[in-house]
């Protein structure tokens, strides 16, 4: 029995795309110092809006555009609550997830049972959106590490008081990051509804947003790390299914646990490195999850 590695890799690419998008978006948000736990809510609204637009227009790409817009829009109340009303970020993010799941369930009623138009595959029979996701990895790496605006965004995330003292508009920059994170989560969700399932069902993202949040931590807040994390999660999922389909005796439960064990292991290694190395500080942005007020 042989498993074709190329076929397996193609499966992996498709399976990891939703979490890759959502995690890249959340990476930028967290690098700006904001912890948005609403990824799942933004994904499900993206899945719904994208599906609705693709169904009514007959054009899947229009669907992805609508999903990005919807994700960004629904992130704005979160931004308003945390950046202007200084609400707790954890609570607001959780509220956004619950709100998104409920709102999507309500507006999704008329779309039950209908089917989205199929998508023609892109180059090498790989979906265009998968290519877009892969292209976003170097782009976001370059933005965060080589571009001036990216470095400013990181400065805001590392120490918002210092960035403010230098004259950077902390709240405006964070607002932009949150909207970008929402758009990315929306596209990730829409990949499930438009490219994978082709139908709308309530709760269809099934926890992908939470995995995306874990991947950002796993990656130590770097874009290549996010790709590695998404491939690890996606890869283990498709590998265990593929092995089962081939009739190989595999301990399914252990393979399902593997990505989570890997995350815990990475977290332990990161904190051990902090404890024993001279380099102070963790990989997490310094101001992550803290609210900023200019008068303080």
């Amino acid at each position: 029995m042989m498993i074709d590695p190329v076929a397996l890799f193609l499966l992996l690419l498709s399976a990891s795309t939703p979490i890759l998008f959502a995690a890249l978006g959340e990476l930028v948000v967290e690098r700006a110092g904001v912890l948005n736990l609403g990824v799942e809510g933004m994904m499900i609204l993206g899945a719904l809006a994208g599906f609705a637009a693709a169904y009514h227009s007959g054009n899947p790409f229009l669907g992805f555009a609508a999903a990005a817009l919807a994700g960004a829009l629904v992130a704005l109340p979160f931004a308003a609550l945390t950046q202007f009303l200084l609400a707790n970020q954890v609570a607001s993010g959780l509220a956004l997830t619950l709100f998104g799941l409920g709102l999507a369930a309500m507006f999704g009623k008329p779309l039950e049972g209908v089917k989205a138009p199929g998508m023609a595959p892109g180059p090498f029979r790989i979906n265009w959106i998968v290519w877009l996701g892969l292209a976003m990895v170097p782009l976001i790496w370059w933005f965060l590490n080589r571009s001036r605006s990216g470095l400013i965004l990181r400065a805001v995330g590392e120490n918002h008081d210092a960035a403010h003292a230098l004259g950077y508009k902390v709240r405006a920059i964070r607002l932009g990051a949150i909207a970008f994170g929402g758009a990315m989560a929306g596209i990730g969700g829409a990949y499930i509804s438009i490219a994978t399932v082709l139908q709308w069902t309530e709760g269809m993202t099934a926890g992908a947003g939470w995995i995306a949040l874990a991947i950002v931590v796993f990656s130590s807040w770097s874009a290549p790390g996010v790709l590695a994390g998404a491939w690890l999660f996606g890869g283990v999922t498709v590998l265990q299914l593929r092995l089962q389909a081939a009739g190989v005796r595999v301990p399914v439960q252990f393979l399902s646990m593997a990505p989570y064990l890997a995350t815990i292991l990475v977290l332990v290694l990161i904190s051990a490195r902090q404890k024993y190395s001279r380099r102070a500080g963790s990989a997490a942005p310094g101001s992550l999850g803290q609210n900023f007020h200019a008068l303080r």
Partner: protein, 359 residues
């Protein structure tokens, strides 16, 4: 509300009912449902809600139905059931396995309310159970799968290694094998009832192994979407999934709970309701076979329908000997039919399926 207040209000409610029996009879029969998912799931809960609507259509003003959706299994279910009982419901249907203990606990506090629990096995004075013989439907799907496969490999997306799922896998395999001796069965355990992304991955993994007909026990349409893109075929599960007809969805096993609900409410209205263990199949109307589409050749369709009718009439049982277990040991002798208690504890594959059941 603490327990004392609860008991007090229960006492008050029953006092009202006892004091005015004539008033109580003129009121419509109140029927409550708790659902584990949203009505909009397009599968399990949707079919239960169709059953609720069937009661309303049948009895009109004589009944009044309500439902609570998205009720998690566990302690929350007890609260929801108590709420329905306190609201004056005369009959309560609990539509998920995990509500079992909650139903038994709440039923003990409300002896005048009739409870029915779906897919469970615990019963009491006022608690009955009801379930479907879905393996009967799988036999029909297996026949179609065996005839339709060109690669002689059929796949099954399984949920959890429990008797109901093993009945489905074995029944589908046996009937595919009967019409196509070369057929092989590949099983993938998804460890979920509903996760579209994972179900899609499972379908793709099976197709990469050369499988060209897939049966699913999971509830989303994601596998059908993948099958459509690849030009392969599959079947609807729980609900008809007719959005994917005529192909890839060539037929479906439909949970038609309305057939049971209408009968059960009829007995309550007549005053003849008893706590029973109902396990109904195609013959009782609880398991329905979705329309077999034109993607299936006419002679295969006729063969599948003949099998369906034979099962419905009770002339044929999907598990009829001689049958061996996968380890080679004998299970059923020539002409012997599987007993219900054997089926409800099924924990093995039949001979011919080479995979391992996860423990």
């Amino acid at each position: 509300m603490n327990r004392r207040q609860l008991m007090a209000s229960v006492a008050a409610l029953s006092a009202v009912t006892l004091a005015q029996p004539s008033w109580a009879q003129e009121e419509p029969l109140k029927v409550g449902f708790i659902y584990v998912g949203p009505v909009a799931d397009g599968g399990w809960t949707y079919q239960h809600d169709q059953g609720r609507l069937a009661i309303e259509a049948e009895y009109g003003d004589r009944v009044q139905t309500t439902y609570l959706e998205n009720v998690p299994e566990g302690t929350d279910a007890e609260r929801a059931l108590t709420q329905l009982a306190l609201a004056g419901n005369d009959v309560i249907y609990a539509t998920s396995f995990g509500y079992m203990d909650a139903v038994i606990n709440v039923a003990a506090k409300f002896p005048d309310v009739k409870f029915e629990h779906n897919t469970g096995y615990k019963r009491a004075e006022n608690v009955g159970t009801y379930d479907g013989r879905f393996y009967e439907g799988r036999a029909v799907m297996g026949t179609i799968a065996g005839r339709m496969t060109e690669s002689n490999k059929i796949g099954y997306i399984a949920t959890f290694p429990i008797p109901e799922v093993l009945q489905g896998i074995n029944s589908a395999y046996l009937h595919a094998k009967k019409v196509n001796p070369d057929v092989e069965m590949r099983v993938v355990w998804a460890y979920t009832w509903f996760d579209p992304a994972k179900e899609a991955d499972a379908a793709t993994a099976l197709m990469a192994e050369g499988v060209d007909v897939i049966l699913q026990h999971t509830n989303s349409t994601a596998p059908l979407a993948q099958l459509q893109q690849a030009g392969k075929i599959g079947f609807g599960q729980a609900s008809d999934m007719s959005a994917f007809a005529p192909s890839p969805r060539v037929s479906a096993v439909v949970n038609n709970w309305g057939a049971h609900y209408v009968k059960s409410i009829g007995r309550v209205l007549e005053g003849t309701w008893q706590p029973e263990a109902v396990w109904g199949g195609i013959g009782d109307g609880i398991v329905a076979i979705g329309e077999i589409t034109e993607a299936v050749p006419a002679e295969v369709k006729a063969e599948a329908e003949a099998l369906r009718d034979a099962i419905a009439a009770g002339e044929y049982h999907p598990f009829t000997g001689p049958l061996n277990k996968a380890d080679g040991s004998a299970w059923l002798a020539e002409g012997e039919v599987a007993k219900d208690e054997d089926l409800s504890g099924m924990n093995f594959y039949v001979e011919g399926i080479t995979a391992e059941i996860p423990q």
